[in-house]
């Protein structure tokens, strides 16, 4: 079942086109939006969170039209949203802040609301710091607070903008686990420019470049696009669209391999960089 349906969505800010004729579907499970900074991921997620409306095109969320006030309220009752730069009232404790968002989510019965606040605090491993002021928490802990508020009310649609940004490797692993768990039985749409996160979490991905969707499919399908187009070498190849040096000093080159190149199995990151390189080339030549 399709929970999120976006058709021909276009959004501009002044002269900058952030989204350009975007189509996207998302259903149960975790869908990842991958792309460099400024590719349009955040704009699309803000549209999915009903915070922003497209200039053109249609959006259907949970079977409803967010442009209609009544539908928008019904969507928001079943929506959880973690913005990219989630802010907090830093003087509030963790419990108070999540309780504040629960009030905004119209949880009117105090006892039931407090139960729900406790549930998401436990779910995100925040119980030991529940009474601490947010200003005293580390960046990783604050990110958890952001996720906890998004999980309030067990929403059917969870929109997470760069949920793992700024986290250390251990925190990222724990976050992936929480998000993966959250994706069971509901729709999660998240953005990242970390291919490892996308590979670990997402059943479907959409790759964005300069406001347009350049690929939609599974991580395996994206990786397969780079088969036969990744080769190793002791130096950067002139034929490569993109190349980088790995920890052991070997260059991974992506593009059209020269004759005799030592082909190696592609990773999701190879395929992503190949796609980005091809699109940059397309933009340069157009």
């Amino acid at each position: 079942m399709t929970t999120v349906r976006v058709r021909n969505a276009t959004k501009s800010f002044g002269r900058t086109t952030a989204l350009d004729d975007v189509d996207l579907d998302a259903g149960r499970g975790v869908t990842g939006l991958l792309g460099p900074n400024g590719a349009g991921k955040t704009t699309l997620l803000r549209i999915m969170a009903t915070v922003l409306a497209p200039d053109r095109g249609t959006v259907t969320l949970l079977g409803r039209d967010p442009q209609r006030p009544d539908d928008r309220t019904r969507i928001r009752e079943r929506l959880g949203y973690l913005p990219q730069d989630a802010g907090f009232h830093r003087g509030f404790t963790v419990f108070e802040f999540i309780d504040y968002v629960a009030i905004l989510k119209q949880m009117t019965d105090r006892r039931a609301r407090h139960d729900e606040v406790r549930r998401v605090i436990e779910l995100t491993g925040l119980s030991p710091v529940s009474g601490k002021r947010i200003r005293a928490l580390s960046g990783g802990m604050r990110r958890r607070v952001g996720l906890a508020q998004a999980l309030l009310g067990d929403p059917d649609l969870l929109v997470l903008d760069e949920p793992t940004v700024g986290l250390d490797p251990e925190q990222r692993l724990r976050f992936r686990e929480m998000i993966s768990h959250a994706g069971e039985g509901r729709t999660v749409v998240l953005s990242s420019h970390q291919t490892e996160d996308i590979a670990a979490l997402c059943t479907r991905i959409a790759v964005f470049h300069r406001g347009r969707v350049r690929f939609t499919g599974t991580p395996g399908e994206l990786t397969a696009q780079a088969a036969g187009r990744v080769w190793a070498g002791t130096q950067r190849s002139a034929a490569a669209l993109a190349a980088w040096r790995t920890g052991d000093g070997v260059y991974r080159n992506v593009g059209d391999p020269p004759a005799g190149a030592e082909l190696i199995p592609p990773t999701l990151e190879d395929a992503y960089l190949l796609l980005m390189g091809e699109n940059e080339l397309e933009v340069t030549h157009s």
């Binding site: 915070v51 006030p69 913005p83 802010g87 009232h89 509030f92 108070e96 905004l104 406790r118």
Partner: protein, 273 residues
């Protein structure tokens, strides 16, 4: 272990929560020491009632003590949820309020020396509360604005709660500054109705634009219309009887419009919400 046990009737009444206080106190003291009676009572207690009691205990223990402003508000009869929303209003922060107080105190102090500055006080006074309303919804000052926009909380209700809170705090500050002015106290209070009218006009405009822009529009219009005449010595536009009646009408009209359209109009707290 004890030598006596609660009789079945006492157990039943205690389990149902129907025991009088003396029996309940005796039963509780006994149950602390008697495993046999604890076992006997366990099978008779309604599990839903136990869960409700447990929730209440957990809530009392786990929920943090509300902050001082929230406790004060709840003592004044404000609901605990509304008190939390008020506590999160960006305008109600010490530095911002001190800023308003300092500017107005300086204006009032300066008016002691020059009567033209008294007229300027009447022009400037409504701008303090109006700016407070704008700050309460300014994206850069409300750190949770983006999260709030994606929640189903009614925009009009949040707008009114925050506006009321801002006015409740800023109006006394302006009033205190007004009392420092030379001359009649009537003149010092003449800004109240224009403030109410301008605030209602700004609230009404939030159906078309964000609160920050709405406040900007009415504040600019107010300054453009009143400054020149006030400086020239004509106070009719700010504090004359005609002006006071006009602002009373605007306040009443704006209030009625808000009441009449509360279920049909979408308040634009954000750029597109």
């Amino acid at each position: 272990m004890t030598g006596w046990h609660l009789d079945p009737e006492a157990i039943r009444r205690y389990a149902e929560g129907a025991a009088p206080p003396d029996l309940a106190a005796s039963a509780e003291a006994h149950l602390m020491k008697c495993a046999t009676c604890r076992e006997a009572i366990a099978s008779q207690v309604d599990t839903r009632r136990v869960e409700a009691i447990w929730h209440e205990v957990a809530d009392r223990v786990d929920a943090p003590r509300p902050s001082l402003p929230e406790r004060m508000l709840t003592r004044l009869g404000v609901g605990e949820a509304t008190a939390r929303l008020v506590a999160a209003t960006p305008t109600l922060r010490g530095p911002w309020l001190l800023g308003i107080a300092a500017v107005l105190a300086l204006s009032a102090g300066a008016a002691q020396a020059d009567e033209r500055l008294l007229r300027m006080f009447l022009v400037a006074a409504p701008l303090g509360p109006l700016a407070g309303v704008a700050v309460a919804f300014a994206g850069g000052l409300d750190p949770t604005r983006e999260i709030g926009l994606a929640t189903p909380y009614p925009g009009l209700r949040l707008l009114l709660i925050r506006t009321t809170a801002v006015l409740a705090v800023t109006v006394p500050i302006v009033a205190a500054a007004g009392l420092m002015l030379p001359g009649s106290h009537w003149v010092a209070a003449a800004w109240l109705l224009p403030t109410a009218g301008l605030t209602c006009a700004a609230l009404a405009l939030t159906a078309r634009m964000t609160p920050v822009v709405a406040v900007g529009v009415v504040a600019t219009a107010w300054v453009l219309v009143t400054t020149a005449t006030a400086l020239a010595g004509d106070l009719d536009l700010t504090s004359g009887i005609g002006a006071q009646l006009f602002w009373l009408a605007v306040t009443a009209g704006g209030g009625l419009w808000l009441v009449a359209t509360r279920d049909t109009v979408t308040i634009k707290l954000g750029r597109s919400a």
